[in-house]
Amino acid sequence: MTPRRTSIVAAACLVVSLTASILLLHDIDAIRPRATTEDVLYISSPKILKRASLGFGGLMACIYWTRAVQYFGHRHFLHSHTYHQLAPLLEITAALDPHLIPAYEFGASFLAPAPPDGAGEPVRAVELMKYGIQHNPDNWRLYYDLGFVYYTELKDYKRAGAVFDLGSRVPNAHPFLKILAAQMAEHASEYTTARMLWTATYESTGESYIRKNALEHLRAIRVDEDVTNLEAAVARFEQANGRVPANLWELAAAEHLTGFAVDPDGEPYDLTFDGRIQVASPDNFPFITKGLPPGYKPGRPKFHTPG
């Protein structure tokens, strides 16, 4: 073969092998149990990992952070109920680089809440936050995150208030921390406080998936509020007229309203024959606690972290 012919054959071989290896890689990704990174974390001790990183802790932290996000997102998409590795992954990330702030935010939003929306480990989330605050005492957001967990998941208003108060003293802290501290002390209505918290989260974070999460919570609060108010109205009607209203128009008329309530998507609520209020499409509101049809099982979530 002349040099020219060899070159042509070699070039063809190169292109074919390149394509084949890329396609194979795709397949391999599908086969490999994601278990390798997730369910069987062989080195779960952050201390050992830190030493093993040989000074490249920062880089390893980024890698573990990416893995944590991937892990949660993937499982959440599959509507999993267990996220055993999330806490270790986040703890390792924090141990490798205590200044990786997004890890703490992620922990607050997704480590604390109960499954399927979170790992259901509020205590570990609190530990993580405390660790973060210890290493980043001037970051007001971490205080906010910790207070958030105390309030939302642990219902510990006293501690939440104390943390918000501490956080409000940090230079350049967002003003709402002071307000939140006061709110805790007053035990203002649940919905209002919750709305404040989620609005604060929505406005202050830079991470898109945390924003989305906060938005869904705000929508859910709105729905819960609406359903509560509507069901109270139905109760009043029942008391006044001895029966359940036939439809929402009747209810609206009785309440002297010109229109009737629609959910945040613009769909009218349903009034069942036994006087209950339901949302038209429960799948669109992942966090609602009221207005769910009886025996409702959530389907695939329409959104999943990350973006």
Partner: protein, 258 residues
Amino acid sequence: MSARILYIASNTFREAVRDRVLYNLIAFALLLSGAAIFVGQISIEIERLVVVNLGLTAVSLFGIVIAIFIGIGLVSKEIEKRTLYTVLSRPVRRWEFIVGKFFGLAGTLVVNTFFMAIGVFAALLYVAHKFSKPDAFILVALYFIVLEFLIICSLALLFSSFSTPLLSAVFAFSLFVIGSFADDLRAFAALAPGVARWFATAAAYLVPNFSSLNVISAVAHQQPVGLQLILQNTLYALFYTAMALSGAVLIFERRNLK
């Protein structure tokens, strides 16, 4: 044609042996036996874990180092020392030279790994006193390590065909490190926005995927390795190696030798 490739390969093997490459086996044996003996006081579970993890990691790392250090000089040294002149003035095609060198180096590593495998199993027998069925998967892990070697050899050869030894070593080593984190690179690519996403994805697929070839931890925990994975990994390694070698041939065919 094939005979010449064989001759070049065996000469490359002979060169490696005379370069005292195989003496690394002594260091390996010392390391492994030391570990096996010192860990001997702890419970059997950990012992086994340590021996398999340490043994296989050492096989992998020793081999990668050998592959890179010999591989980077395979072509560039011959050009530098002009030993290539009297070879190419014979009816040897340039591509035969590249392929022969590859097989010589790969062969050296296979032989090296073979002896190391004996060492690992010997150490395992020493600490666990018997073999259990899942231990067979250690062979799979070793096989995957050999596939890793094939890829690294072909890459080192590729760089050697156009670059200086120092740069080739840097490139090859970098690709090894990045390739070990190939999974994470792909995950990162999925998260990246806009243009960066395309670059990251392209890089993630071009980089040799060593993460899927590394089943050391799984095997240490006596987890099985699926047949399909073995098949796909084999094909992947063969194609990737072919790609790198084709690149080396392409470059070398048109190169003016100084």
